[in-house]
């Protein structure tokens, strides 16, 4: 483990133990070690002893905010729908939050999914999480049996021997293009703020934008061709909390359910649009995709548009309403179709 991450692991364990021992929180949401190299497991510690299992490393790729609403609810006294809401303070949850996760918590507060007063947020400035798929590609598919991280390198061992990779080279795309590695909302900050700031955060998007519309269509079809519709992207996303997703609805049935290209593409494009103005580019969707699809390129394109059109970034400030929940007559409303520009309203 990196020196930094080893220190953070100790600090997280210490603070989580303290929070649990003092009874300030009833549960602490973090990560425990995974069963394979380069994996972690989202983990809820409920006793100081369990807090000793918490870890922090470069492989914490799942967004913890995703678990908060259900975890908070599970700590409420059971009641039937007809019972009045409980009075008095409810049990709290301690949670780790990097820049993007803290912004997701902000969005959850704005959308009434979590109650701020029930959270103790331990902010962790992020050094960027590693993409296992990039490591696999760098090793041409060879199986990693042991992984050790230093502050700037990964040492990977397997049947072939040992390989050292630059850590940053295999950090996830969304972390490499991150502009907000530091938590925006926290009760305690566990480390000094990170100075890093991506220079060209939208370079991947700009490359796609530069394509002709035919090329883009080709790219889109190919990029999502291997989707198996397991919905890991949706289910790992803290924004996707609808009790019935539009793809699951059958009255009316918006999309077909099989692996037909139009249905698959419709799912992905509509999901991305549902996240517009709310997505923090945490990259969980892409990290959990078993097929290695670059799912987040769609949401990042929308983040870019929202930033350009409204000057807004999701979850930066609880008091600033998300762009799509407000309306001002001065809002930009351009519409231009680049295949038939004559219909554009702009000119």
């Amino acid at each position: 483990m990196t020196v930094k991450h080893a220190e953070l692991t100790q600090e997280i364990q210490r603070q989580a133990k303290e929070l649990l021992a003092s009874g300030e929180v009833a549960a602490f949401l973090g990560f425990s070690a995974g069963s394979l190299p380069m994996t972690t497991r989202p983990f809820v510690a409920r006793t100081p002893q369990e807090a000793e299992r918490l870890v922090w490393n470069s492989f914490c790729t799942v967004n913890l905010a995703n678990y908060l609403p259900a975890l908070l609810k599970s700590l409420e006294p059971p009641r039937s729908p007809k019972d009045p809401p409980p009075t008095g303070p409810l049990p709290k949850v301690g949670v780790l939050a990097t820049g993007c996760w803290s912004r997701n918590i902000v969005v959850q507060i704005q959308e009434n999914q979590v109650d701020r007063s029930r959270l103790v947020i331990l902010g962790v400035p992020s050094r960027g999480m590693v993409d296992r798929k990039k490591v696999l590609a760098a090793l041409q598919g060879k199986e990693v049996l042991e992984a050790q991280e230093d502050d700037h390198s990964l040492r990977l061992k397997g049947k072939w021997g040992e390989t050292e990779l630059s850590r940053w080279a295999v950090v996830r795309d969304n972390c490499q293009s991150c502009r907000h590695p530091n938590p925006v909302l926290f009760d305690r900050l566990l480390d000094a703020a990170s100075e890093r700031q991506a220079q060209a955060p939208f370079s991947q998007i700009e490359a796609i934008e530069a394509m002709s519309s035919d090329e883009r269509w080709q790219w889109f079809q190919q990029a999502f061709a291997s989707c198996i519709r397991c919905y890991a992207c949706r289910n790992a996303c803290p924004l996707c909390y609808c009790s019935t997703c539009f793809v699951d609805d059958n009255r009316p049935q918006w999309v077909g359910k099989a692996l037909n290209a139009p249905d698959v593409l419709t799912f992905h494009i509509l999901r991305a649009f549902h996240c517009a103005g709310r997505c923090t580019d945490c990259g969980a969707c892409e990290s959990v995709c078993p097929m290695g699809i670059k799912v987040r390129l769609l949401t990042q394109k929308l983040s870019k548009d929202i930033l350009t059109l409204f000057g807004a970034e999701a979850g930066m400030d609880v008091s600033v309403p998300p762009p799509f929940t407000t309306y001002a007559p001065s809002d930009q409303n351009p519409f231009e179709c680049d295949t038939c520009s004559s219909k554009g309203k702009k000119e």
């Binding site: 069963s35 989202p42 041409q140 598919g141 199986e143 198996i228 519709r229 397991c230 077909g256 097929m291």
Partner: protein, 340 residues
């Protein structure tokens, strides 16, 4: 009557290149950029390395898609009112040509044999089984996530294969395992293989693996009510990655799709991880909670299936271990269940 023959590299290459010109042939291939192994359709001629040195990793997706296409048209109909046969469902009537699955791992081949148990009377699955010839390849190298032996398989097992390409001390051998394999070789001989007969199968069924016998003996409700299920389910995001990558998860849904006046009835993969799987039209849901769904998947594989059919519904390929977004490791679940 011989059951296997020795062949040389050249004969094998020639045979397989010949098959590619006649049939749809699918084989595992490693993608150079991502390092991921996918089962791909052979087009043109194959690189001789792809034939002689099959990739060692587990392919990303299993071969179940060749037996349970995703989606599969199970009936066609017209909804044109003037049509005398409007709203009558008919078999799709598509002619199914032989498909060849080449260099298939023992775990994947075995999954076909296991899935054949619940699908014994399913006309669509049986048709697919009939049209498919599996040419297997023993595993020289296993991954750290492989556990085929725990669940009754073996890196050198041949269950589910029609033919197997073996490495011997002095070259290669081709062995016939089923009558379908023998018939296929008669029509498409490799070297002197035309007269080969299938290896006699063990009579009286193979002995069940210890894990299956253990689970059969366990009390259903004791396993079901075991205290560890909430902990296993806690991290689960209830996606269908495990079920869709799993070679032995075989559940499906049926839906109609209509375009204009033509309709099809489709069946496609479904997952017991999804809340909709059990949702009644009334709104009642017998497995409405995540923990119930997670439990069902493992209980089905290691208790319900053995109680019904004998073996466990798992071949130990390790796909779910590798690709679970939150690292739920089925091997740990098996140990917990064994300890009940």
């Amino acid at each position: 009557m011989p059951m296997k023959i020795r062949i040389n590299d050249h004969q094998l290459i020639q045979w397989i290149q010949g098959l590619i010109t006649k049939f749809q042939v699918f084989y595992p291939l490693q993608d150079a950029n991502s390092g991921v192994v996918h089962i791909q359709k052979a087009t043109g001629s194959l690189n001789s390395d792809a034939i002689l040195k099959p990739v060692s990793g587990v392919p990303k997706t299993s071969i179940k898609t060749f037996f349970m296409p995703q989606p599969e048209v199970i009936a066609r109909f017209s909804i044109a009112a003037q049509d005398a046969e409007a709203f009558v469902l008919k078999e799709p009537g598509t002619a199914l040509q032989t498909q060849v699955l080449l260099n298939i791992r023992p775990c994947d081949a075995r999954s076909v044999a296991l899935n054949s148990m619940p699908y014994a009377e399913d006309p669509y699955f049986q048709k697919m089984l009939k049209r498919t010839v599996i040419i297997g390849r023993p595993c020289d190298e296993t991954c750290s996530t492989c556990f085929c032996e725990l669940v009754g398989g073996s890196p050198h097992g041949t269950e589910g294969m029609d033919l197997v390409i073996l490495k011997t001390e002095d070259g290669l051998a081709l062995e016939v395992l089923t009558q379908k394999g023998a018939d296929f070789l008669k029509q498409n001989p490799c070297a002197e293989s035309a007269g080969l007969q299938p290896t006699p199968q063990q009579q009286g069924g193979q002995e069940l693996p210890i894990v299956a016998r253990e689970m059969q003996k366990k009390d259903l409700l004791a396993l079901y009510n075991a205290s560890f299920w909430p902990q296993i389910a806690e991290a689960c995001i209830n996606c269908g990655a495990c079920t869709f990558l799993c070679p032995t998860c075989y559940c499906f849904d049926i839906q109609d799709e209509v375009a204009g006046t033509k309709g099809v009835r489709l069946r496609y993969w479904d997952s017991c991880m999804f809340p909709l799987f059990t949702l009644h039209a009334s709104g009642h849901n017998p497995r409405g909670q995540k923990v119930q769904r997670v439990r069902n998947r493992f209980m089905h594989k290691f208790k319900y299936f053995p109680d019904r059919f004998g073996p466990v519904s798992c071949v130990g390929c390790g796909r779910c271990v590798k690709d679970c977004p939150v690292n739920i490791d089925i091997r740990e679940v098996i140990s917990l269940m064994q300890a009940v």
